[in-house]
């Protein structure tokens, strides 16, 4: 079974994530790491490969140095890495990024495509839904348990209303939640072997993607302005004089929180 895992590099050190004032986009010049939930996806792919055999390919869109974090996935046990790196793709929005990834994935023709998805979804970027539409493949997201047998996948999908057990035929796209597994640490042998595994860098032209359709130029969304958040202007402070509990109830009731 050929499994492709879509991963992205994110700026490391949560300390000073900042927006580049020149472009109003995330400043990615700091060192990068694999997006933590993508590591869950790589782990799941490796487990499937270990039980069913096959190949695990990492696919990513990013600057050339993103290959460093792809190597971490290779160190865990993935077989190959494909990095789409093209200046024209910088600043791509969901539409542009999904176009590029879909093209790269179509080229690989995997049986299964995995994405990592934060269960609390703070980031909100639902790339897998856009990519699966372009690939014209069935898709299941928020998967907390995944099995593949005889060309069919079964996933336990977690929603606000409980769990839905979904099945779909391969080839398919799955977004796994960070609850699905505990990723392995790469072994030292794995880290050392990663460097000699195939790492391909491809450009948009190699994928037949028109650069006008991606990057800043092809973006369908804009950032108009960035500002610090308004201070909490309506903070309330109470010094307990015996009636604090009542005042808290009043406060919560007024805001319809109880």
């Amino acid at each position: 079974m050929k499994i492709a895992v879509c991963v992205k590099q994110v700026p490391d050190a949560t300390v000073h994530k900042r927006l580049d004032p020149a472009t109003n986009r995330l400043d990615r010049s700091g060192e990068g790491a694999l997006n933590p939930t993508d590591v869950n996806a790589v782990e799941e792919a490796l487990r499937l490969k270990e039980s069913a055999g096959g190949e695990v390919v990492l696919v990513s869109l990013g600057p050339e140095k993103a290959m460093d974090s792809l190597r971490k996935g290779l160190a865990m046990g993935a077989d190959r890495a494909v990095l789409v790196s093209d200046a024209a793709a910088a600043g791509s929005d969901l539409v542009g990024t999904s176009r590029v990834l879909a093209a790269a994935l179509a080229r690989e023709a995997p049986d299964l495509v995995l994405f990592g998805q934060q269960s609390s979804d703070a980031d909100g970027a639902v790339l897998w839904a856009a990519v699966s539409d372009r690939l014209r493949r069935p898709m299941v997201s928020q998967v907390a348990e995944l099995t593949v047998e005889g060309g069919t996948l079964t996933g336990k999908r977690q929603t606000e209303f409980g769990y839905d057990v979904i099945s779909a035929p391969l080839p398919a796209v799955v977004a796994v939640s960070d609850a699905i597994n505990e990723p392995r640490y790469p072994s030292l042998k794995g880290i050392m072997g990663a460097k000699s595994k195939p790492q391909d860098v491809v450009a948009l032209g190699d994928l037949g993607v028109d650069s006008a359709e991606v990057g800043e130029a092809g973006s369908r969304t804009t950032v108009r302005s960035v500002a610090p958040p308004p201070g909490k202007s309506d903070q309330v402070r109470i010094d307990d004089d015996g009636s604090a509990a009542e005042k808290i109830v009043e406060y919560l009731a007024a805001r319809r929180l109880i």
Binding site: T14, L19, N24, D93, L94, V95, S98, S119, S120, D121, A122, G124, A125, V126, L127, W128, A129, A130, V131, S132, D133, R134, M139, S141, K156, R157, T159, F161, G162, Y163, D164, V165, A168, P169, A172, S219, R220, T221, T222, V223, R224, S225, V226, A227, P228, P229, Q235, V236, R237, I238, D239, A244, A245, E246, I248, V249, L252, R255, R256, I258
Partner: protein, 318 residues
Amino acid sequence: MPTLVFLETHDGEPTKGGLGVLSKAASLGGDVAGVVLGTGVRDAAEAAGAHGASVVYVVEDDALAAPLPQPRVDALEAVVAASDAENVLFPASVLAADVAAGLAARLEAGLNWDLTDFRLEGGELVGTRAALGDTVIVEVGWTSTPRLGLVRSGTFDPAPSGGTAELRDVAVTFQDFTTQARLVEHLQETSSGPSIEDADVIVAGGRGLGGPEGFSICEELASALGGAVAATRAVVDAGWYPYSAQVGQTGKSVSPKLYVALGISGAIQHKVGMQGSGTIVAVNKDPNAPIFDFADLGVVGDLTQIAPKLTELLRARG
């Protein structure tokens, strides 16, 4: 050229989130339409009308019976075409996020997500969202139509305005690939109470509780509020509460509607795990505790007196 609002339904009822976004969209003026997809969803259209939709597009089909996103992309593509919608807004949910992104790819349309507000400026939609862990506020726009937006869950409350909507059925041809995923079965959560990541209300305890017994105060209050109990790293390290309840930089990140912090100083390692919470209420006997810098309601006092009293009052309210 209306604004179309995706009204997710559950058991035939529209979700609060959808009605909230609908109410907000209606308040901006202009044409607002709702869309309901599924089986047995016509009644949901009534609620839509009462919250400001003049038209509700309905697609009823067995392909939409299960709460799966891909057939909904087909359906929305048809509804967008039928309605000539300029804006399509979604209340964020697991399902809606997938639908919105799929639709973005299908229509090659821009999608802005995690919106905490939106407005019309010169007839065009402008959105507001927080970024970088809620440390900056960003104004976002679109370069083409239709403009797709995912609105952060719980941002807007439904505001009934009376009125009825005209129902319009739309016929949809579903693609092969969108109907290949099937619902095998639904499993209800059997856990006792919400997990902290999903909870709307969290009562968190820190060093100020004085010891592991202090957590019974948190548990009682959480039970009265229908919420979950969380803990700071310091008390988890000390063995007062399990690691699965740890909120913070190296624990879980949560953003409930209400976060009650009992005996928590508010060091940044904890703050980054909960600063996105809707309303933060802090009780601490140290008036200089950093948590008071960012709590919405800060109470300086003895939590061992205040919290149990609060629990009692809440229970009395029923």
